[in-house]
Amino acid sequence: MALAVNDLKVWYRTLRGDVKALDGVTFEVADGEIMGIAGESGCGKTTLGKALIRLDTRMKHVGGTVVLDDDELPLADDAAMRRYRYREVSLIPQYAMSAMNPTRKIGRMIRDLLAAHNVRYAEVLPELERRLKLVGLETDVLKRYPIELSGGMKQRVVLVLSTLLNPSLLIGDEVTSALDVSSQKAVARALVEFRDHGFVKSMIVITHDISVLFQVADTILVMYAGHLAEKAPAKTIINAPLHPYTKMLIGALPKVGDRYEEQQLEGIEGRPPSLLEPPAGCRFRDRCPLVHDKCAEAPPFREVAEGHHVACWAVS
């Protein structure tokens, strides 16, 4: 088991109280698994990714454990976490490609980054060049400035750079968003290839675009308002979802070929609850068509079939 997260709670401290962005999540990611996390904005998916690598000053580790390769990650201890960052867990944050230093050539930037982790650039250069070629980039991108590369190229550079030390876990936050469809496909393909080559053992891909996850992920985890809703193999989530939220979310996505005149799709009424004072029980119950009395109590995230976990009372 590459990663085991148990009852993890990470809250944001604000002047008006704690925002319970991640409120008790439990899941596992197997060796070689690409797990996708899907959910609407504010569901806690980015918080989950960030929590596994570095808590910023507003974030508070309230409870729960994270075990990576039989080693418990010291989440709350910023200094102790340093040993794991980049070498064991690597994160591609949102908008990473736009955060490259515009005054440095790509090669120089990578050299600086490696120096910060006490790795010699010259030692990894052959491997770096090999991997750049693997994702379809010429090695002379190292001599170029970020402004000279397209979005898709920059995102692939970021991917190569963040996996250079073969981390056990790679977290990619919206790595395929804001790209044209052809670059999106190239980046998504590169993710799968890196896993196949064993550059990273397992991967968490965070995105709001479920159709991309269907293409690259082995399993998909659906989150709603800081809780887990459902986790299952990618095909099952798309074709036979069980949680009412997943059903409605998948139902709201037009497939290529769906037409307004022929078949009208429906959105989900209402908004997610505020996470400042979230209601007890199931957090989806205000928007759920299957709501009943039992929903006042939070449903457990339990396995209903092999590899298929759901948190809903209506699912037997």
């Binding site: 469809v181 393909r189 479920i210 159709s211 979310l249 290529v256 307004y260 799709l265 429906e266 959105g267």
Partner: protein, 334 residues
């Protein structure tokens, strides 16, 4: 209703405007009443530039934009005001379309001040409620709130309601759903479908093919500022002809098929069309010679050349760039 004829846009770039960027080349298309036309293209294809030129936010370099028989490319201040009664736009980011300091009501108040100064308060409120009802918003949930208290989908629908207050005939919707969550996205799309039913013409600018396909009657595929293919939505999506359209459709992440499956289908079509250029074949079949149509303007084939391959399905020369040979071979090269 709206007709673009050989529309051109050249941006001056470089330090002293020393170099030119040809963003839109010879684009011709039309939007009829009660119809959604999607402009689909990747970044840099000129799709937003076209939308902005229609809205008169950018001036055009060549060609004409005709609205109800009147050329609107060069309008004065007063004429433009009347034009905006009929044509309005909604843009990508709903949060930056509102001033966060003021309540959302102000958006409607400014509209009232400039277009309906003589309408009484009671009557105005009625009109407002009607427009909000049309976009399925409850006035009590919306009015008196600040933009940050509303969701992206609500704000986007508010902006559409604002446009509806003017009895518009054409709406330019520039990437209006790309920033919205999947669950609210579809509501805005359905709203566009409903407005279309009421006789509104909609120019829907998007990079997302599955969304473009869902509501639109016709699609226009843009590549590097030129139209490479256009036609009825079903015709273009079921039988994409131009190599660029085929590449684009093969790259879309589908929900029911994997990329490998789509590529297998596409390989079949590519085999069938290999070494051919339907544009040149049709031109030759019609007995026309390759004249102006085959010319290129600084590196990209002239956008003029489109032939009607099947009824209502137009396609341009299969070359993607001028330096590239047309797949049909040297016999038909200009």
């Amino acid at each position: 209703m709206l007709t673009l004829h050989e529309l051109d846009k050249v941006y001056r770039t470089g330090t002293f405007g020393t170099s030119d960027l040809h963003a839109v080349r010879q684009v011709s298309l039309d939007v009829r009443r009660g119809e959604v036309v999607s402009l689909i293209g990747e970044s840099g294809s000129g799709k937003s530039t076209i939308g902005k030129m229609v809205l008169h936010l950018l001036s055009s370099t060549g060609g004409t934009i005709t609205f109800d028989g009147r050329d609107v490319t060069k309008l004065g201040f007063r004429a433009r005001r009347d034009y905006y009664r009929k044509v309005q736009g909604v843009f990508q980011d709903p949060f930056s379309s509102f001033n966060p300091i003021y309540k959302v009501d102000r958006t409607f108040e400014t509209l009232r001040r400039s277009y309906f100064p003589r309408v009484a308060s009671g009557e105005w409120r009625e009109k407002l409620d009607g427009a909000l009802a049309a976009v399925t918003l409850e006035p009590d949930d919306i009015l008196g709130k600040y933009p940050h208290q509303l969701s992206g989908g609500q704000l986007q629908r508010l902006l559409i309601a604002r446009a509806l207050l003017l009895d518009i005939e054409l709406l330019v919707a520039d990437e209006i759903i790309s920033m919205l969550d999947a669950s609210t996205r579809i509501d805005v799309l359905n709203l566009l479908g409903e407005l279309k039913g009421r006789g509104l013409g909609i120019l829907f600018v998007t990079h997302d093919l599955s969304l473009g396909n869902y509501v639109s009657d016709r699609v226009v595929i843009l590549y590097k500022g030129r139209v490479v293919e256009r036609g009825d939505t079903t015709a273009v999506f079921d039988d994409p002809l131009h190599p660029y359209t085929r590449d684009l459709l093969a790259s879309v992440p589908h929900l029911d098929r994997t990329w490998e499956e789509v590529e297998a289908e596409e390989a079949e079509r590519t085999r069938r069309l290999a070494g051919r250029c339907l544009y040149h074949e049709d031109i030759t079949a019609q007995g026309r010679s390759l004249g102006d149509e085959a010319e290129s303007v600084d590196g990209v084939p002239n956008g003029l050349g489109l032939v009607e391959h099947a009824p209502g399905h137009f396609v341009g020369c299969f070359r993607k760039a001028a330096e590239e040979d047309c797949p049909a071979g040297p016999a038909v090269k200009p």
